[in-house]
């Protein structure tokens, strides 16, 4: 897939909760196919403090209006500035970057687990994976009810489960404490996850023990996003240090040198 660097027009910036925003960005040109797990590298207004682009995985895409939607969670100075952008602002993006999740087989039962900004590719995957809603199980974790984003738009595409650390929504605890994971993991053909490292490592460990196919999407720091700065490396079993921006960000846990 040919990569491009182009200006997009921010058509809508919607605040979803205290630190999550949905940005809808329109291109004047038709978009290439962009799949769940792939990402864009976004230029943010430069200042003394902000120099590099920031990578975001794609939340949704509308080919009819050439619109890419991103879920932006405030994590640092870059994402914070991006959430202040208003409709009509221009935003330069490099796209499409990275490799997507493996497409499920048509009879697969899949479990999608998202935490933090890692919710975005899970919702996108649920929407376009082509499976019947009863085959798609989506487990989302956050600190409290206020930290969860509204996913009502994506509810028709699967069965949803929630966890919160304080019990204010869904099961109390981490995603790995939820019965759909703790008790039913072995029933799934594929587990896909994106979120904080600790969460993904915990999931990967259990998936490995249960011998369930598991793909994780990593979010290592990077400068370029297209394989030239060599900063976002992850240790792999077969190929040594690889850039997650070109060889990932999605990896089968069997490829990684994680101690899980």
């Amino acid at each position: 897939m040919k990569k491009a660097v182009k200006d997009f027009l921010l058509v809508k910036n919607t605040q979803l909760n205290h630190d999550n925003f949905r940005l809808d960005l329109r291109s004047e040109e038709p978009l290439p196919e962009i799949l769940p797990g792939q990402f864009v590298n976004v230029e943010i207004k430069k200042s003394t403090e902000i120099f590099l682009r920031r990578p975001f995985s794609v939340l949704d895409i509308d080919y009819k209006t050439n619109t890419i939607s991103l879920l932006v969670k405030i994590l640092g100075r870059g994402s914070k500035v991006l959430t202040t952008y208003k409709a009509g602002d221009k935003v330069s993006m490099i796209y499409p970057l990275g490799k997507s999740f493996t497409e499920p087989e048509k009879d697969d039962k899949v479990l999608l687990i998202g935490g933090g900004s890692g919710v975005a590719p899970m919702l996108f995957l649920a929407k376009i994976c082509g499976l019947k809603p009863e085959q798609v199980h989506v487990l989302l974790g956050a600190r409290s009810k206020a930290d969860h984003v509204d996913v009502s738009e994506y509810l028709p595409f699967g069965q949803y489960y929630f966890t919160t650390e304080d019990g204010s929504l869904g099961e109390k605890g981490f995603v790995t404490h939820h019965p759909v994971f703790k008790e039913k993991l072995g029933e799934f053909d594929k587990v896909y996850t994106c979120g904080p490292d600790a969460m993904m490592k915990s999931i990967a460990g259990k998936a490995k023990d249960s011998n369930v196919f598991c793909e994780v999407s990593l979010e290592n720091m990077m400068a370029c996003g297209f394989g030239v700065c060599l900063c976002c490396v992850e240790k792999t079993k077969g190929k040594g240090n690889v850039c997650i921006c070109t060889e990932g960000p999605v990896f089968n846990i069997k490829e990684l040198k994680w101690q899980v």
Binding site: K2, G227, C229
Partner: protein, 303 residues
């Protein structure tokens, strides 16, 4: 139309704009964004005799108007280059320059001898300034005597234009540049990154796995310009300038300070198409200011 071509020894470049090593892979990685044939040259990722895994993650930190990196010369080695990369770039009409690295003088010699046999590699950039490797790299370039030894050894086995990439982490860069010229370097390129460090106050830990790394970007531009000016006034061989070049104006400034050609590095990460824009921008600048050739502005700083 103003002339854009410049010369390093007898090698003619179609224009003075090159990509800096470590910021464009081997050229193929940026072909979606840039027509490589419009560039003066492509200085490819630092190459070593044997494959190197580089340093552990984290390898970068964003800093005020720039970034630190600690990649540590990760590359698949010269054998892989010849087998898997060289055949693909051979047909592209631009100058592909190999950035040569080693831990010992013997490694530098062996690698250079191999590269010397490659018809379509018209020059090498001898890297004696990488701050992110434990052995070799910068340790050769921060001392006049060790710099002379490695440059002489490489010069003895290399027939084509030899560019020596200098470290800014020295007390007198002009002295090292004179040493390079004295040992037969055809050009010097400068500056490599400045040794720096980032600390995370919350975790009380260094940000980089290697604690220190190389600083690049606009933060270092004034230092790079000063060093280019000093070196331009100290040697007769052409100077290739770099250090925080983000746009045409920056490139022109480096040429006025004495650069025959410029390399664009960190800017590639943010704006991978910028080199072509700089080529066009230089041409426009020359026309607007009634210069016949880009050579008319090299070192023409009015002091």
């Amino acid at each position: 139309m103003a002339g854009l071509n410049v010369k390093i020894k007898d090698l003619e470049f179609k224009n003075p704009v090159m990509t800096a090593s470590g910021t464009c892979g081997f050229g193929e990685e940026i072909m979606d964004f840039v027509n490589l044939e419009r560039l003066g040259g492509i200085v490819m990722k630092g190459t070593t005799l044997k494959p190197r895994q580089g340093n552990d993650y984290p390898r970068m930190a964003e800093t005020a108007s720039g970034m630190l990196n600690a990649v540590g010369l990760q590359n698949k080695g010269v054998e892989n280059f010849i087998k898997n990369i060289y055949p693909n770039i051979k047909g592209i009409d631009s100058h592909f320059i190999v950035n040569v690295n080693g831990s010992t003088i013997e490694e530098y010699i062996e690698l250079t001898e191999i590269i010397n046999e490659l018809d379509k590699i018209p020059a090498i950039e001898l890297n004696i300034s990488c701050p992110n490797v434990k052995e070799g790299g910068m340790s050769f370039g921060v001392n006049r005597r060790s710099a002379e030894r490695v440059i002489k050894a490489v010069r003895d086995v290399y027939d084509k234009p030899l560019i020596v990439k200098l470290s800014p982490n020295v007390t007198d860069i002009a002295d090292i540049a004179r040493a390079a010229e004295g040992q037969g370097a055809d050009s010097v390129s400068l500056v490599n990154t400045l040794l720096g460090m980032a600390v995370d106050a919350h975790t009380r830990k260094p940000v980089l796995s290697t604690i220190t790394g190389g600083l690049s970007g606009p933060a270092i531009k004034p230092i790079a310009l000063r060093m280019v000016w000093q070196v331009y006034n100290a040697v007769k061989v052409p100077v290739i300038g770099m250090g925080g070049i983000m746009n045409t104006t920056d490139a022109i400034e480096f040429m006025l300070a004495g650069s025959t050609a410029v390399q664009v590095g960190t800017a590639m990460f943010i704006d991978p198409g910028i080199t072509e824009e700089i080529v066009d921008g230089i041409e426009k600048y020359l026309e607007q200011n009634n210069y016949q050739s880009v050579n008319d502005i090299i070192g023409k700083l009015e002091v």
